[in-house]
Symmetry: C2
Subunit: 118 residues, 2 copies
DNA sequence: GTTGTGTTCAACCGAGAGGTTGAGTAAGGA
DNA sequence: TCCTTACTCAACCTCTCGGTTGAACACAAC
């Protein structure tokens, strides 16, 4: 869990943290505001925010005693880039496979159609 | 960790598993082939594959004693949709903020930054 | 049959995640 | 000054994760 990509994916693997991101997309919020909807302590929420912050997904400023949390959009690009890369490769392979299968339709010997996965 | 989105993010939070996905984007592979480049046992790799399978990222078919692993592209859409949604919202907010700040550049009194929801 | 290969299952272990409670810090308000 | 609010830090607990080893299963090949 050293690289940023791992931290980002790991951060968003938790439903509460994803929910917080959704909430922060609407506007900045304080720790207490973020904690309100959940049945966990404020301390737990503070920990969640630290995880999001370490992943670069949010930043925390200082406003009197408040620590308004702000969503950082840039990091999302890191993920989308990674995802898009392999999604496209996989889809291209899929289309190539379809073409190959179409070619050998007349000779259906033990075709072993992928996917399948029992 | 019940919903699929959590499983998918969690699965991709591990560098080895991301690497496997990258490898499978090029073409299907068996467990032993996938295990080769890493300094872990085949059993560990089998476990990783189970995680990826539970997330719907790969499927395993049956070929004699082999279990060729195949990358499933569809699930990536689930992630990209989620990500794009909040990235766009956040970016829009950012642009709105820029506009607001540009408007009040001449009057810099304790700006008390944007949206703020609350 | 027996043996070899590819893979999974089961039990275990150490580290870390997510939660708690309790105390500590920092600022505003009486 | 003292109290309250907003938050973090520290210690602890439990459960999961990623790894191991050892055994079992499924099929091929001899």
């Amino acid at each position: 869990m050293d690289d940023q990509l791992s931290r980002v994916f790991s951060a968003l693997a938790d439903p509460i943290r994803r929910d917080m991101v959704a909430r922060l997309a609407v506007g900045d919020a304080t720790v207490n505001e973020l904690a309100e909807p959940y049945s966990v302590t404020v301390q737990a929420v503070s920990k969640h925010l630290k995880v999001l912050e370490d992943a670069g997904l949010v930043s925390r400023s200082k406003q009197a005693q408040r620590r308004p949390v702000h969503l950082e959009a840039e990091v999302f690009d890191l993920m989308t880039k990674w995802i898009e890369r392999y999604r496209q490769e996989a889809e291209q392979r899929y289309q190539r496979l379809d073409a190959v299968l179409a070619e050998m339709t007349e000779q259906p010997e033990q075709t072993r159609v992928e996917g399948e996965a029992s």
